[in-house]
């Protein structure tokens, strides 16, 4: 059984076709990357998998559960980090993690919160209000929220978006470490270097279509490129 199975997935916004029948699958334990420019359809795909949007047609399953028909079950085994996400400014980081952990496991939430605090690396600032955090601190808190429960699938939309190099490196290491604990990760990015470093498999997406899938080295070799960025440009331009 695949961790993620997407087949002929189509999504319309009014008359605009955002996804034009994409197909890919993610194996359990993978760190899988969806790469593409802005507006390619990465976020729409992830939002469908996170049960936020309904597919217009096609199939999207997570560990065998249909994201539309079994949305409640899907939500129990996934966690989702949107590209543009914030926290509740009048709650402390600790309260935020506790609130989220309680919704997954009201009995054992404390151990998850402790793990979340460790992942976030916020130290004592975890007891300060989120409103006082910097953008990087908020992103680390949100990533900790998404990963602290060790979900079966973590869907991370541009996990290092808007972060400086140092913080982005920290976050990439966190993702790698969590993935070792039986967490399948599906992430999107337009940073080819990041994807090359993190993911064992990727799909290149452009204008609502998957243009290539495989490991980063397979894709680079398939078009005789020197890096993933060059491969992407060659594939898109045909």
């Amino acid at each position: 059984m695949y961790a993620v199975e997407v087949k002929d997935l189509v999504k319309y916004y009014g008359s605009f076709m955002a996804l034009k029948g994409i197909t890919f699958h993610v194996d359990e334990g993978d760190i899988y990357g969806l790469i593409g420019p802005n507006g390619a359809g990465k976020s729409t795909t992830l939002r469908i998998l996170a049960t936020l949007l309904k597919p217009s047609s096609g199939v999207a399953r997570i560990f065998g559960y249909d994201v539309d028909k079994d949305a409640d079950r899907v939500r129990r085994i996934i966690s989702y980090l949107p590209e543009e996400a914030g926290g509740y400014k009048y709650l402390t980081g600790f309260e935020y993690l506790s609130m989220n952990a309680k919704m997954y496991d009201p009995e054992n939430f404390r151990e998850y919160v402790e793990y979340g605090i460790e992942i976030s690396g916020l130290g004592d600032r975890i007891y300060d209000r989120i409103g006082s955090y910097s953008k990087g601190m908020i992103r680390r808190l949100l990533l900790a929220r998404a990963l602290m429960m060790k979900p079966r699938l973590a869907i991370l939309d541009e996990p290092t978006a808007g972060m400086d190099v140092v913080h982005a490196t920290v976050i990439r290491d966190i993702i790698k470490n969590v993935a070792r604990e039986d967490v399948t990760i599906l992430l999107s990015s337009h940073n080819m270097l990041e994807v090359h470093y993190l993911c064992n498999k990727i799909s290149l997406i452009n204008e609502g279509r998957i243009v290539a899938s495989g490991s980063p080295s397979e894709i680079i070799d398939s078009v005789n490129a020197s890096n993933l960025e060059e491969a992407f440009v060659r594939l898109v331009r045909g």
Partner: protein
């Protein structure tokens, strides 16, 4: 309780009560404004009396006649701190009141040529208390007019009541809708309260509407909504948590208004106790107050759910507040119609529409409380509950679809689609 409801509720309560904007406008504002109003009514009157009793009243007697002496004694007996002085003393500004008795005062009174008794009141600035300061000496002088008039009449063996109070007036107003007679002074008190209440509640409803709208729109603006919707809890738990959160806001805001109003009555009691009908309002039966409170609470709960429904269309808090604010005008028109129009004379269909609107019942709630008309509150509560259920059904439908993320209105302009 459904999983997640408590956590959402706790989150909403923490977020709300830590928000200075909410605390200032919904809790502190009514706690301050009503006691201040009560203080203005009550203490300004007693403060004015105190100011006058402590202040100096200069009497410049240019006549030195029997009536001028009589006036000076009369002012002293009225408890004023009277100092007899010459015209030059008017140049200093230390006095509170100066009364100048003109030359020929007594003679002019007796020959009927109406002398002019000049009085000057010295106030620091114009305030609510100024009215009382000016009116108190005025009424003392009016009393003196009656006094000397009575003295003259008694000297001529005429009963002063024949001239000044030949008969008494007892006006009773029969209110057909109430089916009872009401003394005219009491009616004034009733009307004042009947028409003030809906406007107090209007302010409360608009503020609850805006707060509950912001509850959801802030999730959009803070970019927290998507995470919330992917949590492993039923979407109904999110709605319930938010509605209950709004109801706590409603309860705290109502409690704040009630405490503020009680303080308003207590602090203003020196003033209100002079008004006929006040005692009857204080003696309102407890169960009438409870029924009215239940109706108000249900209306506020409906308002909270309405706010949540409105917020679905708003992309950010600014748009949400704008949408919530657009309800102010129809609500104002409803209050004006309910207060000004004779509902019995309206066409049947208009009457049905009027009574199908939950907010219609708050308009004359005070009046029906005075009339002990409990069926009015029960009927109003039932109508409001029906609307509340309809509203909750609509919201739960929207929450279970993707419309919550894709329906957007920014300052009235509808945008299609969402950003990838």
């Amino acid at each position: 309780m459904m999983r997640g409801v408590r956590d959402i509720l706790v989150k909403e309560v923490k977020e709300t009560f830590r928000n200075p904007r909410y605390l200032i406008f919904t809790i502190l504002f009514p706690l301050l404004i009503y006691p201040i109003m009560g203080y203005m009514f009550g203490f300004s009157f007693s403060a004015a009396q105190e100011t006058i009793s402590k202040g100096t009243v200069l009497v410049v007697d240019l006549d030195k006649s029997s009536f001028s002496h009589l006036l000076t004694d009369y002012l002293k007996e009225s408890g004023l701190n009277v100092i007899e002085s010459d015209p030059n003393s008017l140049n200093n500004t230390e006095y509170l009141i100066a009364i100048i008795i003109p030359k020929g005062f007594s003679e002019s009174i007796l020959n009927g040529s109406q002398p002019v008794l000049k009085s000057r009141v010295n106030v620091g600035s114009i305030s609510f208390m100024t009215m009382s300061i000016v009116s108190i000496p005025q009424s003392i002088l009016e009393g003196f007019k009656k006094y000397i008039g009575s003295e003259i009449l008694i000297e001529n063996n005429i009963d002063p009541r024949i001239i000044y109070d030949p008969f008494r007036i007892d006006t009773l107003v029969y209110v057909r809708e109430w089916g009872r007679l009401v003394p005219q002074p009491q009616l004034s008190m009733y009307i004042m309260n009947i028409y003030i209440w809906p406007w107090i509640l209007f302010g409360l409803i608009i503020s609850i509407l805006q707060i509950s709208t912001v509850f959801l729109s802030e999730e959009k603006e803070q970019k927290t909504l998507e995470i919330l919707l992917t949590l492993p809890i039923d979407r109904k738990a999110i709605i319930l948590g938010k509605i209950l959160g709004s109801s706590i806001v409603a309860i705290s805001a109502t409690a704040s208004y009630i405490v503020g109003f009680v303080l308003y009555i207590v602090l203003g009691s020196t003033f209100f106790s002079m008004v006929d009908g006040f005692t009857e309002i204080l003696n309102t039966p407890l169960h009438a107050i409870i029924l009215m409170s239940i109706l108000f609470f249900l209306e506020l709960l409906f308002t909270a759910s309405l706010g949540l429904g409105i917020a679905v269309f708003a992309q950010d808090t600014k748009a949400a507040e704008s949408l919530a604010g657009s309800f102010a005008m129809p609500l104002m028109l409803l209050i004006l119609a309910g207060s000004m129009l004779d509902l019995e004379s309206l066409p049947l269909i208009v009457k049905y529409i009027y009574y199908a609107i939950p907010y219609s019942y708050m308009i004359k709630a005070f009046e029906h409380m005075l009339l002990n008309d409990y069926s009015y509150f029960i009927f109003g509560s039932v109508i409001t509950i029906i609307w509340l259920i309809i509203m909750l059904f609509i919201i739960s439908k929207i929450f279970s679809s993707e419309k919550l993320l894709t329906m957007r209105v920014r300052l009235w302009k509808r945008r299609r689609g969402v950003k990838e």
